[in-house]
């Protein structure tokens, strides 16, 4: 499956790119994170503390257990600080 990944705030800085396209066999967000962590050190650093990571699937908030079937865009970011 091909996914567009997007990163924001300090996750973007740690990964070193705002967006990228990846091929993965991951079935859930948590499996995708494990897949990325195993690829390169920068992902292991970005995803070191998952309590500080939020995720959106096709621009809707989701959680780590969420399935990736039919999803095109996965975004990772820290807790939001708007307002």
């Amino acid at each position: 499956m091909t996914l567009t990944l997007r990163y924001f705030a300090w996750l973007r800085e740690r990964v070193g790119a705002p967006t990228e396209t990846v091929e993965t066999a991951a079935g859930t967000v948590a499996e995708l994170v494990d897949d990325l962590r195993a690829r390169e050190e920068r992902y292991a650093l970005a995803f070191a503390d998952l309590r500080a990571v939020r995720v959106a699937l096709d621009q809707e908030l989701a959680d780590l257990a969420a399935p990736l079937g039919g999803v095109r865009e996965v975004a990772f970011f820290p807790p939001m600080t708007g307002g």
Binding site: F8, A56, Q59, L61, M80, G83
Partner: protein, 146 residues
């Protein structure tokens, strides 16, 4: 419901004037504007957002406010980019027949958009920059709305 995400500043007075123009059904118009506060040595903040999701998330929050209260108008304007101390960051405005609904809906919008709209603040001070941490109080503030 009107939602705008923009880099440029806004005119709070002009926004409120436009919301009440021609309206005779609203007895209350509440507004809140958030400003960049310098707690000591702040040069600027940089507000990052998630184009596309930001507009959807703000619209969903405004939809929820309109479902909970009978509102005549509901406006959310949120800026992004580099903002200096004293500048306006965002505003909400809610109009209703009576003030209680307008006040409550404005508070609801603020509580939700602080931790459910995809914005992230970075503070620049003394030549260094750091991402602002989310506050536990902001998450706790959502619980009172059930």
């Amino acid at each position: 419901m009107i939602v705008r995400v923009q880099r440029e500043d806004f005119d709070l007075g002009a926004e409120l004037a436009a919301l009440r123009a021609g309206r005779t059904d609203m007895g209350a118009l509440v507004s809140f504007s958030g400003l960049v506060r310098d707690g000591g040595g702040l040069a600027a903040i940089e507000l990052e957002h998630y184009p596309g999701m930001t507009e959807k998330a703000l619209a969903a929050i405004a939809d929820e406010a309109e479902a909970r209260w009978s509102l005549g108008v509901c406006l959310v304007v949120h800026r992004y980019g580099r903002l200096e101390p004293g500048e306006q960051i965002m505003m909400v405005a809610t109009g209703a027949a009576h003030r209680q609904a307008a006040f409550e809906a404005a508070e609801f919008l603020m509580d939700y958009l602080k931790s459910r709209a995809p914005f992230w603040k970075k503070e620049e001070a003394g030549g260094a920059a750091r991402w602002v941490d989310a506050r536990e109080e902001d998450e706790a503030a959502l619980r009172r709305w059930g």
